[in-house]
């Protein structure tokens, strides 16, 4: 596998993701379309939570930690591969099931490529590209998550409850 071609492909997608919201995010987080049929009972809260978690705290965070540990502690290539193969498979499975298909595809291909590579700097360059794209997915999820949903379930505080109770008679006028 040509690691440079893969790195360039990821960087091109990452660069596009600076200006434009990736299709995976629009489909799952905005339009609530789940072609993988994820979302038990057709509900989307689960895919939103797990999709967001997998694409932020699992894939990019793991990749970040591998890069950081390698740089800070001068890890050998074999340790890098060991960490990658231990940490990433479940994360990419969750990203894929939750509709983050491009991230899952790029992660899977990056893993396959890294497992064939032996030059630490080249591996770091490839992982860096994946981290950049993962960070973009993260940014766009942060943007597209329907945060306002919580405003639909406002729980009155004590002061507000007292005020509501004091004005209860107004509803009989």
């Amino acid at each position: 596998m040509d690691w440079k071609a893969l790195k360039n492909e990821i960087e091109t997608i990452a660069a596009q993701s600076v200006e434009n919201c990736p299709e995976d995010i629009l489909r799952v987080f905005e339009y609530e379309i789940a072609p993988s049929r994820c979302g038990t009972g057709g509900l989307m809260m689960g895919p939103w939570f797990e999709g967001a978690t997998a694409s932020r705290y699992l894939v990019p965070y793991y990749v970040y930690n591998i890069i950081k540990l390698t740089k800070d502690s001068n890890l050998p290539v074999e340790k890098m591969k060991q960490q990658m193969n231990l940490l990433l498979p479940k994360a990419l499975g969750t990203a894929e099931l939750s509709g983050m298909w491009t991230l899952a595809d790029l992660t899977r291909r990056t893993m396959a490529c890294v497992n064939e590579m032996n030059d630490k700097d080249e591996i770091l360059q490839l992982l860096n590209a994946l981290y950049l794209y993962g960070s973009s997915i993260n940014a766009w999820q942060n943007y597209r998550v329907k945060w306002g949903l919580s405003a639909a379930f406002v729980i009155p505080n004590r002061k507000e409850l007292v005020e509501m109770a004091c004005r209860a008679d107004e509803s009989y006028i």
Partner: protein, 148 residues
């Protein structure tokens, strides 16, 4: 040691019998040696119709079987009634019990099956837990009890 146990939901007055599925028997043995175990019952929200126990405490025997030594199985392909572990390590594991169709394409560690005669009861519990998770928020507890 018989590799069988019961899942009991005291508030529902329901229970199902479970036995080895023939895979990862050392993992099932470790789980059974930790019984009785009590934990809050939950439901899967992404992969399909599964009961999900997110915090199964194994306080008696440390779970130290390396992941690469255990057989895994794609949940989509597993039979209804399959009981699988997720991230079993040290003192805790997650557990999933498939009670109907699933789209989950991820792999888990299969250990047991709910016996055929109890599958209807399992589905009944699954639907009640789904109702709890999505509407009533009634807290249901499950107990795992080893059977001789």
């Amino acid at each position: 040691m018989m590799l069988q146990f019961k899942m009991v939901w005291p508030q529902l007055n329901l229970s199902v019998r479970c036995q080895s599925c023939g895979k990862n028997e050392n993992a099932l043995k470790a789980l059974i040696e930790n019984m009785p175990i009590k934990t809050i019952q939950g439901h899967e929200m992404v992969g399909g119709w599964m009961l999900r126990n997110r915090s199964v405490y194994m306080g008696k025997r440390f779970f130290d079987i390396p992941p690469q030594e255990m057989e895994s199985e794609c949940m989509k392909d597993a039979p209804v009634g399959r009981i699988s572990l997720l991230f079993p390590q040290g003192n805790s594991t997650e557990m999933l019990v498939k009670y109907d169709e699933c789209e989950d394409s991820r792999s888990y560690t299969p250990v047991a099956d709910v016996v055929e005669e109890d599958l209807e009861t399992l589905k009944q519990v699954g639907k009640l837990q789904w109702k709890s998770a999505t509407r009533t928020k009634e807290v249901l507890v499950v107990e795992f009890v080893a059977e001789d």
